[in-house]
Structures are given as C-alpha cells and as structure tokens.
C-alpha cells in the first residue's frame, strides 16, 4: 500500500538520516522525497510503499509517532487515498 509520510519539526543535522533509517528498519521502501526548510522549520514529505512492512498500518503509525517524539519530530503517516480524493477530481 502506498502512503504519505510527513515529517515536521525544528531543523537540525541528520533528520533525513534518522527518518530514513527508521523507515528502512521497518521494511519500508521510499518512492519519493521532497524536503524544505523555512525559517528553521523542517518539512519533509515522502511517498512510501508499505508492502514489505511486517507491521499493520495502525502499528506502523503508532511506532512512527512514538519514534518521532524521541527524535523531537512530528511524524505522520496517512494512506495516499485521502489526498487523492481531496485534490483530484
């Protein structure tokens, strides 16, 4: 299943490395990344594939939220469908 991961927080070194490691450890393939920093505020949007992830979507979501807290970031995962539904006719 394809999903969108959004990561936000105060910018620092190694955020992308931390998040990519976290995703790789959970069997997640990253299909696309877009990242920007605005006034010290880090925002990253990733399109990922969860096909090889052994966790259920809910478990994965909880795990990412929890890991985000430890890294001082807000990490959200949502199925891609919601964005397609809202922004594509």
């Amino acid at each position: 299943m394809k999903a969108i991961v959004t990561v936000t927080g105060k910018d620092r070194k190694g955020i992308i490395a931390d998040v990519c490691r976290l995703l790789a450890d959970n069997g997640i393939n990253i299909l696309d990344i877009s990242q920007t920093v605005m006034q010290d505020f880090f925002t990253m949007i990733m399109l990922i594939d969860t096909e090889d992830c052994p966790l259920s979507f809910t478990e994965l979501s909880d795990k990412l939220t929890e890991a985000g807290k430890n890294l001082g970031l807000e990490i959200r995962i949502q199925r891609e469908d919601i964005f397609n539904a809202m922004h594509r006719v």
């Binding site: 969108i4 399109l47 979501s61 469908d81 919601i82 964005f83 809202m86 922004h87």
Partner: protein, 452 residues
Amino acid sequence: MLNNQDILSTLDMIGKQHLDIRTVTMGISLLDCADTDICRCAEKIYDKITRKAKNLVSVAEAIEKEFGIPIVNKRISVTPISLVAAACEASDYTPIAKALDDAAKECGVNFIGGFSALVQKGFTESDRKLIASIPSALSQTGIVCSSVNVASTKAGINMDAVRLMGMTVRETADLTKDADGMGCAKLVIFANAVEDNPFMAGAFHGVGEPECVINVGVSGPGVVYHALQGCKGAPFDVVAETIKKTAFKITRMGQLVAQEASKRLDVPFGIVDLSLAPTPAKGDSVARILEEMGLEVCGTHGTTAALALLNDAVKKGGVMASNHVGGLSGAFIPVSEDEGMIAAARSGALFLDKLEAMTCVCSVGLDMIAVPGDTPAETISAIIADEAAIGMINTKTTAVRIIPAIGKSVGDQLEFGGLLGSAPIMPVHKFSSKAFIDRGGRIPAPMNSLKN
C-alpha cells in the same frame, strides 16, 4: 507525486482548522424484532444491534488511523420504535429505550437514535405510547435520542401532536433538570423528517431503508472560515465559489471514509450528509463564517442572506463530490454547539425571531436553544408550530430542539459539555399562544402550485 502544497493544505485543515468526519452512523432495521412481550422485544433489539454494530467502532477507529482524519462520533440509528413496539402489549416503552442504551454502550458508540414516532397525519396507539414514554425514557437512559415528526408538506401539521410535544418537552426538562435539562437536548420535533439522517438527535432508520446501511456526516466550518479569510472584500461571486471548492474537498473526504467503512463492515453505503456541523471549539463555528462575510455579529441584518449563500454553496460544492447525497445536507445553526452563536446570543445580537428567519434558508431549524424555565408548554408548542409551518410551506426539513431551563431565566446559562456545548438562555415572547394551541386538529397541507 501529489503536489506538496495540496498535502500540506490537507494537514492544515485537519490539524489547525478542525476538519473532521462528524459521524459514521450505522442504520439498522429493527422491524423483525417485534413481539407481543416487551421484554422479549427488548432482548431481540439488544441482540440485533450488538450483532450488527459489533465492529462499527473498531473499523471507524482503524480508518481514522490510516487516513489520519478524526471521526468524532460513531452512532447508530434504528427503525422508529413506535413501529417496532406496536405489537407490544405494554403501555410504557421505557424498557425498549433502556435496551437501546445498553446495546449502544456495549458497541461503544456515542449516540443511538430512533426512539421516534411519525405522526404528521395522526397517531397510532403505539405512537401515543411512545410519546408518553419519552420523558421517562430520556431521563433514564444516557445516549438514546428521540424524535417525533409532527408535520410534512404532504400531510400538513398535526396540531394535536404539536400541543402534546410542547408538554412532552416541558416534562422532559423537569425530569432531567438536575442535568441542566439534558433530556431535551436529545429530543427533536421535526417537520419533513428525512429517513437517512446520520446526525443526532434526529437520526432514525426509515422504513424505506435497507436492512443495514452506513451513512456519513461531514463537518468543516473551520475550513470554510479559513478559506474565506483569503478573500476579504471580494464580491459574493468569489465568496460562493470559494465555499463551493472547499465543500467539494470536505465532502470527498466524507465519501472516501463512507466507502471504506461500507467495504470493511460489509454493509451498503447509504449517503453522505453534506452538512457544516459546528462544535463549541474556537474556529469551528458557522456564525464566524457569516461574520467573515462582513457582518459585525451573527444575528444582525444581513445574516439570513449570508446564511442562504453559505447553505446553497455548500450543497453545490458537495453534491459533485459524492455519488449519493442525502440526510439533512446544509449548514447547521445549533446555538449551544457553536462558539460564535453562543457569543452572538450573549451579546444581545441573536434572538429567537432572527434564528427562525435563518431556518427558512438553511438546514434544520431552531436547534439547541435554551429558553426560560417558566416558558409555558403552549409557547413551546407555538414555537414548534411556527417552525413546522416553515418546513411545510417551503418543502424542507425543519426541527425544534429546545430546552426549558428549569429554575433559570434570561442571563443564565445551561452547560451540557462535549459537542452539545453551553446554551445562554434566550428570551421568548411574553404574550400567550394558549388559545391557538388549545384548538388542536390539523393544519391542512399547503398548495404546491399557484405559487404567485
């Protein structure tokens, strides 16, 4: 890949602008639960509801998590109990209300609606028993909601029912006065009630509905408010267009959730109700949208026109986003549940008469309004009659959910908490409507041609 701006705007809508799915409501037919023994009937009802809605809450919670969109309430609506219980020999239907309450709590839902009767043209014996049971049923249960349809465009207004409901509202307020009249917050009197409404307190599962169905009600006043902040001073053409586009996005999300819930529960999808349903939270108010259009306070001159535009644009935007639209669909104006309405009523800008005018152009009617505790039953009946007349003549749903604040008067406030909010007590006209209400009988159905 999706446009980053689109992704971030969705996140902002959910995180900052209170976008949510207000309710996923499962409609369940209870027609097969009829029995001459009321205890047996209550048992069948409990069993059927807990069987059908067993997974409703867990499925809705999984959807919330996967899509990252809050589903604020999970609810159940059932066949009007006056029909289901008609075969019962008992005269008091409170045991059935208790069975509904127990079943709903077992399923973990927030509300269950359908302790209802449809009496627009007249009463059956069972309708009379149900209405007589409403005060005790609502005072002895926690999350059961009740509604009575007293009028329709085809049948006219049953003024005997209007009189009876004025007394029923007062009696319910008396029995629940320790909870600030909470019973009345769960009781709606309708004209032209719809059979597929997912919103409470007026939800019931109509007889034309399938065995079981999933209906979804969306929300999102905060998103519309935010969008309008981007077009300050622009002409109304721009305002209407902005609301339409926003309503489209909100409704698409509702449609997605409805389809997903229907698939996972293996229950047919019914409708998406395109309603702007406010909450008492700051930034989630319909009144503030009207003020954003240029009114100093909601309730001043121009409010009806602003609401008419809003209501129409919400429907136009939403109707293309869903393959089945139904329910009440429009803007809600429940006073106690809307931060801006509460403020407007407190500041002396919003009165019952203006709210009545507003109900001519928007969804539903006089909703969650607290009136002084000494308001006579006949005055409440007269308020119901006025609202029913608006619904009957304009071929639309109208409703009254009014709470007599026992022992309190204008200036005081009722506290319900949660989504129901707090209601400042509003003045009513002092002059009597008693002789009018005492007449009883029926107001005939109106002409639907010769409209000039």
